[in-house]
Subunit: 347 residues, 3 copies
């Protein structure tokens, strides 16, 4: 059930266990654990005004639950989660929907140490109607059971460096003009953001063991590194590692103040958990606007491509610019993603 590096083969497919129906309880917990505040996900009247039948589930909650399903088969014995690519939010998910997970191995590369290797996996979540709601690629370093086991042939997948703006999914029913700035708490729309702009979000959030473990269990993510302090004593860090997705959620919640009208995630182009995060760390979030584009057939909503930096235990005002690809000791998250934001009406 849990696999080591030498157990994987390119083309191998997994139907992941534990289909999961999302409930109002999951959504309340997500809010309590992360501080998410977008009214799209917590105001039924606003959600209906936008054209949804009810509040859509927070995009990242969908991601975490979908991701969690892949852990038992793919990354239970992972050394590190190395990167993401081509992550697409395809269709909204609502309370009552049931998610199933599927994956296919698309690449393998043994590391020179012979102790582990990188597994590239293409995964997707489908709902109870069999429709895809989310798809992504990730690569993860997985330990070998037996360092002497022969290495599989190296296959490196061809991964897109970004999800093209033109391919982003926007529900046809969406009435984005219903996103009332009074409800979101911010008046800045798509037109008001410029490439190169830097936003240092004002809040900070200190993380606790109980919180990241509750979140990670809610997602039914069983990766041992998050839960077992006894075993962690003999690890390189000596401590439980916080699930990187929890860090993304905390940063997304902190960034509500400054990105109030970024009402949906459309894609994650790439990203890295640049440093580990531990209980007791305090997270802050900086965004850099990378790009801005209109969307085919939509004059009401546009896309912003953003770079999210999660930094820990540092005043953002003292954090220097961090170049793309550069590592900074305080930066734990460096995520390249794309959000949807309403556009100003033509006058």
């Amino acid at each position: 059930m849990s696999h080591f590096f030498e157990d994987f083969a390119v083309g191998q497919r997994f139907a992941h266990a534990i289909p999961r129906t999302i409930t109002a309880g999951d959504c309340a917990l997500y809010l309590a654990l992360t501080g998410a505040r977008s009214p799209v996900h917590c105001s039924e009247p606003l959600a209906r005004a936008l054209g949804h039948p009810s509040c859509p589930v927070d995009d990242l909650l969908v991601f975490h639950i979908a991701f969690g399903k892949t852990v038992q088969d793919i990354s239970y014995n992972a050394v590190a989660n190395l990167g993401y690519a081509n992550l697409r939010f395809v269709e909204p998910v609502y309370v009552g929907d049931t998610l199933h997970g599927h994956s296919e191995v698309i690449g393998l590369k043994e590391n020179s140490s012979g102790k582990n290797g990188v597994v590239y996996v293409s995964s997707r979540a489908v709902n109870q109607h069999g429709r895809e709601v989310l798809s992504w690629v990730r690569w993860v370093m997985v330990a070998k059971r037996d360092p002497a086991a022969p290495a599989p042939a190296t296959v490196l997948p061809d991964l897109p460096r970004e999800v093209p703006f033109a391919s982003l999914a926007v529900p046809a029913f969406l009435r984005s003009e219903a996103l009332d700035p009074v409800a979101t708490g911010g008046t800045r729309l798509w037109d008001d953001y410029e490439a190169g702009e830097v936003i240092d979000h004002p809040g900070g959030m200190t993380l606790e063991e109980a919180e990241h473990m509750m979140a990670t269990r809610l997602y039914q993510n069983t990766a041992r590194v998050h839960f077992d302090a006894h075993r962690a004593k003999s690890s390189s860090t000596g401590r439980r590692l916080i699930y990187g997705g929890h860090v993304i959620s905390i940063c997304r919640a902190l960034s509500h103040d400054g990105l109030e009208n970024a009402f949906a995630l459309a894609a994650i182009n790439g990203g890295t958990h640049a440093n580990p995060t531990f209980a007791g760390d305090t997270l802050y979030c900086r965004h850099i606007v990378l790009d801005r584009a209109g969307l085919p057939g939509r004059s009401d909503v546009g896309a912003l491509r953003l770079r999210m930096l999660g930094a820990k235990n540092v005043e953002l005002s003292s954090l220097p610019p961090v170049a793309a690809g550069e590592r900074h000791e305080a930066v734990v998250l460096d995520l390249d993603y794309t959000v949807l934001v309403p556009r100003r009406k033509a006058k």
Copy 2:
């Protein structure tokens, strides 16, 4: 969006962001985070027997969510939350209802230091039907952005010292005789409490960082002092402060044993967070019965005015009487409020 003292003007109005639909998930979390046990809020058959369409949401959960909406505009830069007055629970709230928040500045007074000032705000929460469910006044000390900024003219509002018994809201549909003592666990009714009576409730509750932060995020209250341990290191206490409302909820829950049939909050007449509370503190609760009154047109239900003392890290048996207005180092909460309790049937 977040305001400093010199940004406020008497008469200024705010429509607060983030309308919030209350769900069964919120109610379960409230129970898990506070230990609330009134069956009115967790037994659907009992709620319906009382005349409700379904379980009413715990009064304090409604308060915390409504209060949380005001933080971003009013108290994000608060130094301290100084007091409450004239808080009225006007109408029950049910799962599925959506709360909106509104505030008006009704008073301002710069402190002699010139570094901050007191802002008096009248706030209210309305539901999706536009009906008021809760209203209150609070005053809060807010930092100035610029100590050299000119002080606004001092305006001190005329605040009532209490919410008159005769003005308390009791739903016309309420069948309070359905409040079965077997269900609540206590047989004492309105008739059995006497002014001057002191009740030392038996339980104690130790507070944890993860818990108060989860509660405060659930309420979408973003006040920085509760969440950011890194920044708190340079504060006067050096630590995260626990949201005062969490302390009220813990004390309310502890007081179920002794006030089992106090089935609803009707008003908060006034109160103060007399000392800060931190993770690791253990809370205990004492009540003093202040007054008792019948209610117009109701022979089945009466009002008790109570003084709630929250004390930390002390045996209640060793806590001396604390006079009104007196401060005691162990007392963190001193709240004057009014509850509804069924009356004995005339024989």
Copy 3:
């Protein structure tokens, strides 16, 4: 309301306070607090395929809520929870159901110290239709208020050493063949387990104060030993004790990997909390298969009798066999219980 040893009499009956409607919020919290992963409780389509109208509530969540109701009357002043017997899961519970608790004292025995005594109680939970969903016996050591109080006559109940296989409740509607191994993540069925088999489950879970307190409050279990760190300083352990039921839930969740198709608890034959568990401890779980039996009138589902050992802060690979009745310093839980598992179809 809370009783000491000398307050009890054989034949005494209690209708416990605080009827409780179970919600989707409770179920989400249970999952987040324990890591439970059986898809029977989190996938609506799977639950309906099994014949349920909706997801049945996790058996242990039902138990904890039912157990919690008995604490205020029975074990608020308990020194220790000594044992269980004859626990039967009689009927499934669903979101929206309301549980009531009832107990009867069936035995009493003062300890030789004269400071406390053992109270034997038969308890049951009934739903809003008045149907029993769960019944059990437990015995608990309760302090005397007054060591000089006369001891009641000793009455020792005749307790069954096991719940007979033939008496286990299996819903007539249940289509156990719908339990898809792809959904559960495991292919082993009833036929594949042999008496004497030992299963060391791979995960480990470190416990936090915030988590066990949230769980125990969710169950409205008010036993003081779990919540009051200030008072605990003067106890023999000096610390808050973790509710033994939380330990059972954690072990049940850890054991999903290896017992994936054990889709329901049918009975608890007996058990003991062999050592106290504290925040910071890391739990591991071993199972020993005790026995296997078919069930009257069912060719599709069988019963496994299991022994669950919960061990803390120890590698299971270094934990020796622990004989029945033997105590090992690392073992905190030794539970004898019976689960239902689908059988292979005859070919």
